[in-house]
């Protein structure tokens, strides 16, 4: 954090839409501290009944993969169909798998 910082830090907001579902990333906002970030999330992202729970994480605390590594990281999975469990016969009684 630089000494001449004039903006509040950025936070990523995750909202759980209902009990049992996972928290999904829904956007970001600026807030001075964690408590304010939670309150602002409530006001900015859940005012239309979108959620029952909110997580916030400082954006600078998230470690992300480098877009430049995209080819090396993700392309090799393209032709490896055997990694999908699609070669098994499923019993008819199983509707969803």
């Amino acid at each position: 954090m630089s000494a001449e910082q004039t903006e509040w830090p950025l936070w990523e907001v995750f909202v759980r839409s209902k009990a049992g579902l996972d928290h999904k990333h829904c956007g970001s906002l600026h807030a001075a501290d964690a408590k304010m970030a939670i309150q602002m999330s409530r006001d900015v992202y859940t005012r239309r009944q979108e959620g029952v729970s909110v997580w916030v994480v400082r954006s600078d605390q998230i470690v992300a993969s480098d877009p430049a590594d995209k080819a090396a990281y993700f392309d090799p999975a393209e032709d490896k169909v055997y990694r999908h469990p699609t070669f098994y016969e499923l019993p008819k009684s199983l509707d969803h798998m």
Partner: protein, 261 residues
Amino acid sequence: MQGSIALQRTADVQYVLRIGDTALVLAQRLAEWCGHAPVLEEDIALANMALDLVGQARALLTRAGQLEGLCGGQALDEDQLAFLRDERDYLNATLAELPRGDFAFTTLRNLFAATWFKLLWERLCESTDADLAATAGKAVKEARYHQQHAADWVVRLADGTEESRARTEAALDALWRYTPELFDDDAVDAAAQMSGLGPRRSALREAWRADVAAVFTEAGLLLPKDAAFRSTGMRGVHSEHMGFVLAEMQHLQRSFPGGVW
């Protein structure tokens, strides 16, 4: 111009209007921040709170209009009550009508008002008026959030920079004298307590002071001494600012009678 409506001013109607008008006028003042708050996130938060207050005012004005009919007067709807009364028939606390000031002023006023609303709604959940009790059940959740949001800001500003501290102290100096009105009883309160409609205003005083004192301790602020001055908005006698609030609030309905969207 559409003519103003007149009220009979029975105790029950006055009791409900005092709460409803305070919510309505404070909502109008908070809405003035829309597009002007210090940061986008707080802009949305203030607008949300203003809309919560409008919702509470709608329920209360609707109920007051019904009570007016039940007391032998003409039943009135929320819009008639919101837009077609003359200044002296608005019974909001003067605190609510003061110009929005700077952000410290707005924040501190929100703390004072939200703490009052929170305590009042908690009591009104027990009202013998089922309609009022139902409104209170919903509104108390909103008021608790408003109070928490305002309290956090007051602590941040008072314990922030020299500038924010000075502005908070100036706001306290300007606002404190308008708070005793929130707790001064009269015949309307006595009647409400007797019938079970709601608590006397004085019944909220100690709890309000304790809540505000807790925030002030964290913020490093001292509760000022009470002065002899008493504002009188809840009796319909307002500050010089009220006329301007109403002019803006009523303009559309007076120019286009019955207009809706």
